[in-house]
Subunit: 293 residues, 2 copies
């Protein structure tokens, strides 16, 4: 398969759907809708919603059924970036090569734009059709749990509290599980649920998501150390400057790279039951690993 | 009926249910759950969830069915207070007589505690049972819309943008509709929906909520001007100090008081179809108006 073509087509579908779900920038009050759209349409890779759609396809589901879940996870991801970038959090000026929300709209509106995207994620997901195995309420619970205080938000709290401290390997693993793997896994699970996946397939895709999510975060940590600001589109070396714990800082670059490969192999192994139906998910896992780290 | 006894019983039920829905303060990461509980159990009046339960009862519904919706609206209300109090918004140090979240936990954790309460609101509401007329997804859409960028969040944006400006009556009305009336109305509607209310009854309670919500905000504006900091439990005269537009500032105290009475009469009129089933809702409306303004 041609992954580049696939990604272009899926990204375009997600962008169109998000554009339809979000209030126009002309809707009152204009500022909040401009700010929500500024961050949502900032050239993100749409990795999570692409995984949602690919997981649905691997389970024999249709794209229209999976689209609300795909858009909801992207809104959650974008809100978390806006809030993480705030001066009272990671204090970042650049994101995806552009000034962060609070730099453009001010801190107050940035907080509210994040709140707005978080809220609309559930409004969008509530439009997903139920299947015989999974109610729309079950999808809502899945997303709320993964993005709630035990996982996504909890990871950011642990991250904040870990700044300037020497974290152990398990502590860093906990932060990565919460901050990255939980939402990535939920993105995949929501796609599978929208396709009415059997419990066995849902469990296999959960394993896939957790391995992939950790791999993704380890690679991000490596890239932060090895790449330039220009190439990343965000301030490089930021984690080191903030004396944030990273995989390379704790385990060294070499072991980090090996760990990324090991996790990707585990992700591949979990896809075995799907046979050729998981060709796209496999290609996506390879694509993540093939980033230049 | 003895409203004081009723309020005590309902508030205790809501507090117990919230305590059960929220992760223990010992759940990792401890800080976020402490912060969420600090604001949620800060002695709030539980006005919105009490209205949810009373609306359900007026429609012949049971309290257990309405309890998830009641708890969800209280989580949304509390999150909005935490974020509104942030230094980048209204910059308030006191709330319900205690230091605000960011004063106790720092700004970063306060933003995240608000995010956590916003997220868990939907996790809780997703546990509400569907009725023949209203799916759980319909309840989710109701709450997400009322607390989203067009209403609750939109009102805060308009409020921020109006600071230091001379607002017109209609502009202030818009802010009050968004910031207060929308969530109050949704609280009432969610109670009615949990009781499988007929469309006609839902429409009547929508009118009730809008009138009551505006009356409530007008009275809050009046109290801010006329009461002392000690009695309010928050910084009094704050709106005037920030040259925020208020009903009394635009219309004068006398006209504001008349408007509060007029809105309460409208609220009462909308309850006519319910006969004596709405005795509690009537008593609650009177209770709001009877505040010493």
């Amino acid at each position: 398969m041609d992954l580049a073509l696939y990604l272009t087509a899926r990204t375009a579908r997600i962008d169109r759907a998000l554009d339809g779900f979000l209030p126009r920038a002309s809707v009152k009050p204009v500022t909040i809708h401009k700010a929500m759209r500024y961050s949502l349409f900032a050239g993100g890779k749409r990795l999570r919603p692409v995984l949602t759609l690919a997981a649905a396809e691997a389970c024999g589901g249709g794209l229209p059924q999976a689209t609300p879940a795909a858009c909801a996870v992207e809104c959650i991801h974008t809100y978390s970036l806006i809030h993480d970038d705030l001066p009272c959090m990671d204090d970042d000026d650049l994101r995806r090569g552009r000034p962060t929300s609070h730099k453009v709209f001010g801190e107050g509106v940035a907080v509210l734009a994040g709140d707005g995207l978080l809220t609309i994620a559930f409004e969008i997901l509530a439009q997903a059709a139920p299947t015989s195995r999974y109610s729309t309420a079950a999808l809502i619970r899945e997303l709320a749990s993964a993005s709630g205080s035990r996982w996504l938000i909890g990871g950011q709290v642990a991250d904040l509290e870990g700044e300037g401290k020497k974290l152990t390997g398990p502590q860093l693993q906990y932060i990565h599980c919460c901050k990255t793997a939980a939402l990535l896994t939920a993105s995949i699970r929501l796609g599978a649920m929208s396709a009415n996946a059997t419990p066995a397939r849902l469990a296999a895709l959960t394993d896939f998501g957790q391995a992939l999510g950790l791999a993704f975060q380890v690679i991000d940590d490596i890239l932060d150390v090895t790449q330039t600001t220009e190439k990343l589109g965000k301030t490089a070396g930021k984690d080191v400057a903030a004396t944030k714990a990273t995989y390379p800082a704790i385990h060294g670059l070499d072991r980090s790279r090996k760990e990324a490969h090991r996790l990707t192999a585990a992700a591949h192994a979990s896809l075995k039951p799907f046979g050729k139906n998981a060709a796209t998910l496999r290609a996506l896992a390879d694509y993540l690993l093939a980033r230049d780290y």
